[in-house]
């Protein structure tokens, strides 16, 4: 069995961010592995342990995303690949999906693709479902548990957590899944793992390597600028008497 896990780096949730006059983002901290991806990477390693799977970890982005690949290698992924090309600058979800689907195709024998639930810096999960669609595979989003996986029969059973409740779904492999945070206890790299990862080579696959041209990944949506949040008016009003608070809230017409 061959499992591919897709990861990216993202600004730390605790980092201070600011928007300059030109609408550009200033982040006062270095990037971290997308916290959602830590669950996806750990799940891939658990599948490796349970099914003797081969695990490939892939990212799409500049060299600043190699940290996420190294993290994966350090906890046991077998190979790491970075997808990048100048023509991918300003990628939208569809461009991401096409390039990643092509890379999965190039790997050839992938049975399962794992993603973390979303990418916080684009605040979106669209690239996950579009990758599945471009592969022609079933996406199983918002997976809280992989209940059964039978590589020989080519079947998977998962619990998905969606708005209307929890679904138990079976599907065929190959499939694409996005995982929620409760799916496992993230593994952290050991010192030896980190040393090994530091020495590993991480090939970069360009569009040409993927059999794509720039026109195929021309973005269909783009960011124009970042903006600061509108300022909240006024400071907090401290209240001692519950009756007074109730009156204020009734006046605000929020009840």
């Amino acid at each position: 069995m061959h499992v591919a896990v897709i990861t990216n780096c993202t600004p730390d949730t605790a980092a201070d961010v600011a928007v300059d006059a030109g609408g550009n983002l200033k982040v006062d901290d270095k990037l971290v592995v997308n916290p959602w991806d830590e669950y996806a990477i750990t799940e891939a390693i658990l599948l490796k342990e349970a099914h003797n799977a081969q695990v490939s970890i892939l990212t799409l982005g500049g060299p600043e995303h190699e940290e996420a690949l190294k993290h994966g290698l350090a906890i046991g992924c077998d190979q790491a690949i970075r997808i990048w090309d100048d023509a991918l600058q300003g990628w939208d979800s569809l461009a991401f999906a096409k390039a990643v689907a092509a890379a999965i195709g190039k790997l050839g024998d992938v049975d399962l693709v794992l993603f973390g639930k979303e990418l916080p810096d684009i605040a979106s999960d669209a690239h996950i479902f579009q990758t599945a669609r471009k592969l022609g595979w079933t996406p199983l989003g918002f997976v809280a548990k992989i209940e059964a996986l039978d590589p020989a029969a080519g079947t998977i059973r998962v619990k998905r957590q969606v708005e209307s409740g929890t679904e138990t779904v079976t599907s065929r492999l190959p499939a694409v899944i996005s995982v929620l945070k409760d799916i496992n206890e993230p593994k952290y790299p050991t010192f030896i793992g980190i040393r090994k990862a530091a020495k590993a080579s991480m090939p970069v696959w360009s569009l040409a390597d993927l059999g794509l041209d720039a026109a195929a990944v021309a973005p269909k949506a783009k960011r124009l600028a970042y903006q600061d949040l509108p300022k909240r008016e006024g400071a907090v009003e401290m209240i001692d008497d519950p009756a007074l608070l109730v009156d204020k809230l009734l006046e605000e017409k929020v009840i």
Partner: protein, 322 residues
């Protein structure tokens, strides 16, 4: 301009966020078509007209009884190809986000997700959406021609007043996939039950580590019940096992924007703020008067939540005659 709106149906009824999408569609275009897929969906079709649809495309079939990616995406993408609407909208629920992403991939359309503002700049959609845990806004636009797709954050757009006298053409559509062509089979469902969905809730009462244990949620639940609201929680309370993950608000939980958010025993960490910052009115109850949650709140009460919440509940019951 023709606008398609996917009407998300749960238990035979559209969700409120689908009505919000219909309301926005009327502002963006001059012909609004509601797409209602499912089984036994006549009430939902009526509701779509009442909330602003000029026409409805209805696909009523056992294979569509519950949302599944493959049959829904194939059906929606086929309808978009056939009718060529300028814009396709849906609520940014788990299902809506999957469905529009899949259909946009099929027809190679531009996609803007989980938007809180949406307008037309010429003939292209332009959106504002919170990113990075809601710490900044991103202004984005579609650049490609052809159908444009957007998913709308629940409660970011007003719900139109229903008008039961409205009606229009109903076009029947057949499913695009036969059941044996669909890989995913739903074996069982544990329904979220009668609880009010956090993302649709107008009032949320939330508890954090300060409630001290599972039984500490009792006064939170009581107040939520008095107010007809939903129960939220911080990650600390969820991780401690005091309340299920479905209740978690924040960066790794749900993003909510109720009219009223009452946070009790929650310090207001940046990751919690990511989920509730856009609430209209925030009330903080915390025994530490320096807790960061007070910087976000409109009203604050410094003190013990076990003392304050029952008294608040009492006052509300009196004044709301409950």
């Amino acid at each position: 301009m023709s606008v398609f709106v996917w009407i998300e149906v749960h238990d035979g009824q559209p969700i409120p966020a689908s009505f919000e999408a219909l309301g926005l569609a009327r502002q963006l275009g001059d012909r609004v078509t509601g797409l209602v897929f499912g089984q036994g969906i006549d009430d939902a079709v009526k509701a779509a007209f009442a909330h602003g649809a000029d026409a409805v495309i209805k696909a009523d079939d056992a294979s569509l009884a519950r949302y599944r990616f493959e049959p829904y995406v194939a059906l929606l993408a086929g309808l978009v190809q056939e009718h060529n609407p300028a814009i396709v909208l849906a609520a940014a629920t788990t299902s809506g986000r999957e469905l529009l992403a899949g259909a946009a991939a099929d027809v190679e359309g531009g996609l803007l997700t989980d938007v809180t503002e949406l307008s037309l700049d010429g003939d292209k959609l332009k959106a504002v959406r919170p990113v990075l845990g809601g710490k900044v806004l991103s202004v984005e636009t579609v650049t490609a021609g052809g159908p444009q797709f957007a998913t709308l954050r629940s409660r970011a757009f007003p719900q139109p007043e229903p008008d039961a006298s409205r009606s229009g053409d109903v076009i029947d559509a057949a499913p695009a996939l036969a059941e044996d062509a669909i890989a995913a089979k739903v074996e069982s469902i544990e329904s979220a039950g009668g609880q009010i969905s956090l993302t649709d809730a107008t009032i949320i009462v939330a508890g954090g580590r300060g409630v001290g244990g599972p039984e500490g949620f009792a006064p939170i639940k009581e107040l939520a019940e008095t107010l007809g609201g939903a129960v939220g929680a911080s990650r600390a309370a969820v991780d401690a096992g005091w309340i299920p993950y479905e209740h978690q608000v924040g960066q790794t939980g749900k993003v909510v924007s109720p009219d009223l958010y009452i946070a009790a025993g929650i310090s207001g960490a940046i990751q919690h703020q990511a989920g509730m910052r856009t609430a209209k009115v925030i009330v903080a109850i915390n025994k530490d008067a320096d807790a960061p949650i007070f910087k976000l709140a409109r009203y604050g009460m410094a003190g013990d939540l076990f003392d304050i919440l029952p008294r608040l509940n009492e006052e509300f019951r009196k004044k709301l005659n409950k």
